[in-house]
Symmetry: none
Subunit: 221 residues, 4 copies
DNA sequence: TATGAATGAGGATTCATTCAT
DNA sequence: TATGAATGAATCCTCATTCAT
């Protein structure tokens, strides 16, 4: 409101300027996409939640799909970074997988928006409409965590901790089964088709997958 | 106009009259919903594919959502019936689960439309828009196969074939993980976010789940 | 308002039914396109002038451009028919050209809308945006009068009434010069860039063209 | 800010400062207006082609229309100057008209942008939107060449070289017919409604007009 | 019952113009 | 003076639903 002194200006950038606007749009978009899904999200509402004019959205993102993917990319980048940090190379592959499973649960429970948004893409809700360029971008973002899983599995195989399998295929099995369990965690109970404790479901999924992966004879608790 | 006596209903020719029209609508709707998803399905196209006037749709179904659920119900009824017929009580629980897994794969591969349509609901694509009555209907339809799984698991536990678990929770684990693998089977490769052989993925999922469930010591091939 | 007797219904079609709606849209569109030009025409206004919902326009015409061309086609068909009727084969080619010139003036003065609309296309105002199919349609419509001119000129050449020329090229010369003079007639004086009596301009154009075409020695008034 | 003394203006470097910026805007605007027409021209693109900020446009021109007219004015001033230089008072009026016709062809072929832009105004594409002040400006610019034509014609009449006519009206006839032929020259063939050799059309137009103007008996080649 | 024309709210996107820096 | 981010009115088009016939 009041005129700032020149020096004060360098403090402002956090709440104004191009990147701040972009961040506000992403935040608002994430919230609305999460609540309403891609098809039912109204960009007018995104704009007004971001306290910006509608046109401003288009100065930062070329289209609704582009905005969606940008939200997804932001979430994916975060996720991949944190997941990487979670992996402890000093423990067994099975324990690493278990700790990834715990991280997975914690992360998505704390950021359900990203999961739902990612999930929509993963479930081809609107994949058909996505221009190839954006599809490629989404792929790149989400391939990283899977490659990390693949590496852990390959390591476990080398050390004889795991039953024989194709690491890439098994990474996909874990990823998809894990997602299906997380989906229960982040979906409000009244919106779920089948009623079942999401916590128990998640634990059981993790347990079955680890048992199913482990090489006999067992040395686990 | 007047309520018909039950016997009178069976007299109505199967290829004309109210029920035949309904069937044509359901068929057309199933095809288009499958191809385009709920949001992008245009009822004009459904009507013209059914070779019916658009108004006719509304004489048989109250709304687009109602039509969607009716398609889903038809698919679910079919599925539950066939799945029931597949279960052979003379074999072990693990083998029964494996044979259900095979059936699952075969059924959805032959009827991908139903899977996609079911999947959309399952993934809360538009659950928010579904009136509670329709949601309840969907629930009832899809609970049957899960209850069947639950019974097989409970039986396996009784006979000591399986590791200790909550049958209902484990039925949900299998159901969700299985769905996540089927999703890969019925999604065209170019539309999948992550590239992985769907057949290998399905087999690996089935294998891991069964290993994970089986009680040690193992007696399986 | 009051219920009509069944017999009376057959009288109604002129003001209701699909073709009547189409006609109302064409009329409204012609008026607004005439007044505002293609780019500045608002289809909402067309709809409300036609006393129809906006969506109705799209049940009859696929797009704004399609509607524009339909208006043009209606005008062009009328024009070609009447022009054909105007040609009297018993008189000399020069006199036939003169009478076509008179017809031209009369017709466009009575239907300035069509001229303006045609003119916009002719002056490539939005030709670039026109899908090839529509461009071809426009071409076909407007080629007819030119072919008629070409025939009259060729006939005059055969009879030695006209100076040597390429009939198709000369038809184009007359058509374009004629149009440029008609443009003055149908443009309100205040909107014209250069102030000049439109009537005198038209007469002088006709006179110069005919003199310029006639073979010497002259036998004209 | 303050009014500069006339001498001071010539001191401003030609490649920087206010007038150079203005020139760059005009050049960019001319190119884009030419390619896209008034309605479809995007000022963002003009600014970026001029390698200037968008706001800068508004420091030099009050509005899009104002910019359009400025482009037009620049072209018109050029044209009038060169046309004036082309007229050779030592030859006959008919020959002077013919040489103007040649100049006309050459000039517009070399500067199609100006012609298209001028043409758009001439064809009232957006005359309705033009504030009266700008319309007056356009009029003044384009009246000069017509007055020059008028003088040549009046001279020809005085010397008995031309058939009797109103010089101002006839100047308008030549101007409009000439424009209609130039239009063919500067319009890419695929964009023309009617297909006809533009060169032949131009020559034929010139020929017919001169024959039509010349007083009999003829003494022309 | 079947029809299909009509509806109009709704939504994505564009762009000339403004204004704080 | 130059900038370019922000604006928001404007506009084309879609489509689920209604209703007169």
């Amino acid at each position: 409101m009041a005129t700032l002194k020149p020096e004060a200006r360098t403090v402002v950038p956090l709440t104004s300027g191009r990147s701040a606007t972009r961040a506000r749009i992403l935040k608002a978009a994430r919230e609305i996409f999460f609540r309403d899904g891609f098809a039912d999200t109204n960009l007018d509402e995104v704009a007004s939640r971001a306290e910006l004019g509608k046109g401003t959205l288009y100065r930062h993102f070329e289209s609704k799909a582009e905005l969606y993917v940008a939200v997804l990319a932001a979430g994916g980048a975060c996720f991949a970074d944190e997941m990487q940090g979670e992996v402890d190379d000093t423990i067994s592959a099975l324990d690493r997988l278990r700790s990834i499973g715990r991280f997975y649960r914690r992360y998505w429970t704390e950021h359900p928006e990203y999961f739902i948004i990612f999930s929509a893409v993963n479930n081809q809700e609107f994949i058909g409409q996505l221009p190839p360029r954006l599809l490629a971008e989404v792929r790149e973002i989400w391939e990283q965590p899977l490659r990390l899983l693949e590496r852990v599995i390959a390591d476990g195989l080398r050390k004889g901790e795991l039953r024989d399998c194709d690491p890439w295929v098994m990474a996909n099995v874990i990823w998809r089964s894990g997602n299906s369990a997380v989906a229960a965690l982040v979906t409000p109970r009244r919106a779920r088709v089948i009623d079942c404790s999401a916590e128990a479901l998640y634990e059981a999924t993790l347990d079955v997958l680890l048992w199913g992966l482990a090489a006999p004879p067992r040395a686990r608790s």
